[in-house]
């Protein structure tokens, strides 16, 4: 039930009143951008939303992060790209995407017909210049609410080492991107590092408006029958429910290290997980691999949030961000 008060406040999608009269405010804010709720499908698991829009009205989501986009079109890695794990999966898609110009000319205009909110632009690159140029081109599009810059990619000029594994390289990308857009810039960190907090801090110091984490953990599987790796590229990114405690720990650590907002993700698959991530310090929460096995999961989490909040006596989600850090 939606109360008259919230309707008047134009919050009907976000303030929920239960039969018992409990008001649950699910709204959150990311660098000035107010979302109806913190539920955001993660990049690479939601495409441009079209497959999901065939199933349900995706406007119920906070927003979503679109498929990692690069300056040039990419086919990505050879197949098999997918391996199953206990409570998770490995992917080695290799950033297959049609390139920024086609995203601007085709995908984003199409998106307007089924998604009326602003979207998160997830951007990847293989050099600092490439990141900046991709963001610069996307910046002209009004559908974009903020940039999420994936620094897990290998730096072709840096011996193939991921930008996100060095505070200096991550800061360099941050600064370059920061210069070419007016929109908020969130840096998406790789968990494959020893000290995630120092990298987050370096990004903050270089002008990042927020931090997104975690990307996938490097993993692999070997087929007992063929005695060879399952994935053609041997290794790939591990994600899904199994990584939740690792992701939660990293969000918790980064919250202590920076003042800018955090989008937390990694293994989230229920309204309880969303709340737990927020308690650790996330201002909004992304859901990745779970979309692939249960395409309705984000809709269901959005629907379950008010009840779950009531169950734990939470009236406003924004008030619990980082609550686990309080003494």
């Amino acid at each position: 039930m939606v109360s008259e008060v919230s309707r008047a406040a134009g919050r009907d999608a976000a303030t929920h009143q239960s039969d018992t009269g409990f008001h649950a405010d699910t709204t959150v804010t990311l660098s000035g951008w107010e979302l109806d709720n913190p539920v955001i499908p993660a990049s690479g698991t939601f495409g441009f939303g079209k497959e999901f829009a065939e199933l349900y009205d995706i406007n119920c989501l906070g927003t979503f992060s679109f498929k990692g986009t690069t300056l040039h079109p990419r086919f990505g890695n050879p197949t098999p790209r997918i391996a199953e794990c206990t409570a998770g999966m490995i992917n080695s898609v290799g950033l297959q995407n049609p390139g920024v110009d086609e995203v601007l000319a085709v995908q984003l205009p199409k998106l307007q017909s089924y998604f009326h909110k602003k979207v998160i632009a997830n951007v990847s690159g293989f050099s600092v210049e490439e990141y900046a140029e991709t963001v610069r081109r996307l910046d002209e599009c009004d559908q974009i609410g903020l940039f999420e810059v994936n620094v897990s990619c290998p730096n072709v000029h840096g011996g193939g080492i991921s930008f996100g594994t060095s505070p200096e390289a991550a800061a360099e990308v941050t600064a370059a991107v920061r210069k070419v857009t007016r929109r908020p810039v969130y840096i998406k960190l790789t968990p494959n590092v020893t000290d995630i907090a120092s990298i987050a801090k370096a990004c903050e110091d270089a002008g990042a408006d927020g931090i997104s984490l975690i990307n996938t953990l490097l993993g692999m599987r070997i087929d007992l029958k063929t005695k060879r790796p399952v994935i053609a590229n041997k290794m790939g990114g591990f994600s899904g429910p199994a990584v939740f405690p690792v992701a939660l720990r990293m969000v918790y650590q980064v919250y202590e290290a920076v003042k800018i907002p955090i989008m937390g993700m990694g293994g989230v698959s229920s309204a309880e997980d969303v709340i737990e991530m927020m308690l650790a310090g996330a201002a909004a929460v992304q859901i990745g691999a779970a979309n692939l096995t249960d395409p309705y999961i984000c809709r269901d989490i959005v629907a379950a949030l008010p009840k779950t909040m009531e169950q734990y006596g939470i009236t406003s989600l924004r008030e619990i961000i980082g609550a686990a850090h309080r003494n």
């Binding site: 690479g44 409570a87 898609v93």
Partner: protein
């Protein structure tokens, strides 16, 4: 088994998640099972489409081709190759399964001429069944070649024959039917029908079908079988591919392949590809 509809199927692409109940789950061959389910089949619109099955304790769903469907009934035939299919084989009637249906493009029935040839290899046999039933309902003269390794693996020969298809079974070791691969079956049938053509390699594939025993090829099976078929095929055709899948509905790019017409997702733009667009 189920009556054909007698008109071309419309390929519509829309999926549905719903709960099916197992009516029957029985062994057809030492490691092959046939499962009949009841549920909402409304989104299953063409032979060659598949369903993606959620299994307790397994993170990813398991893709299995639609073997047959009618109103609220669905038939799947699957080979036990790992944990998931083992789990399926142990399920009792009455068990409920969460399925995504209506996945994949399916075969296009409009292009096949009057004498389609259906070739199924091993676990690629099941989708040929509904296809065969629909083609026969359209009045086509259907030949089916089924390929297996050995006698004990053979299934569904009688079922295809009962539909009215000329049904040839090949076994690699010659322990049942004719000895050899499905392509040996193609060559033998050509000789028997008096076809006097040259090697397929030297002839113009698209134009030389008039005097052989088939007008078009539909196939599903392993890649080596596809390559062998491509070597001897005299007509165009449609091939149904397998790939490891993340989602099965087009969202993750886990199953992409390169084709002459660009990148395609096996799960959404396939699994059926036309012979002319495949990079052989």
């Amino acid at each position: 088994m189920f009556a054909g509809r007698g008109r071309p199927l419309k390929i519509q692409k829309s999926m549905k998640q719903s709960i099916f109940t197992i009516l029957e789950n029985k062994r057809l061959a030492p490691s092959v099972f046939r499962m009949e389910l009841v549920g909402d089949t409304s989104q299953i619109t063409a032979p060659g489409q598949f369903v993606n099955i959620r299994l307790e304790g397994r993170f990813l769903r398991r893709p299995i081709s639609v073997c047959d469907k009618a109103e609220d009934r669905l038939v799947l035939i699957y080979k036990v190759v790992g944990h998931g299919t083992q789990q399926l084989s142990e399920m009792a009637p009455g068990t409920q399964l969460d399925l995504l249906t209506g996945l994949g493009n399916g075969y296009d029935l409009s292009k096949c001429g009057e004498k389609p040839l259906l070739i199924g290899g091993g676990a690629g046999v099941p989708p040929m069944y509904w296809l065969c039933r629909e083609l026969i309902a359209l009045g086509k003269e259907v030949t089916v070649i089924l390929g297996f390794n050995t006698a004990e693996e053979v299934f569904y020969e009688a079922e295809f024959a009962a539909l009215g298809a000329r049904t040839i079974v090949m076994t690699a070791d010659g322990s049942y039917g004719r000895k050899g691969f499905v392509t040996d079956g193609m060559t033998a049938l050509e000789k028997e029908c008096g076809f006097a053509g040259k090697d397929a390699q030297q002839s113009d594939c698209a134009g030389s079908s008039a005097d052989t025993f088939y007008s078009y090829i539909y196939t599903c099976g392993p890649m080596p079988m596809f390559r062998a078929i491509n070597q001897v095929a005299r007509t165009s055709g449609q091939f149904s591919f397998e790939e490891r899948m993340g989602c099965g509905f087009g969202a993750c790019m886990g199953c992409s392949c390169k084709t002459i017409t660009g990148y395609k997702r096996i799960c959404k733009d396939g699994p059926v590809l036309e012979r002319e667009e495949i990079l052989w």
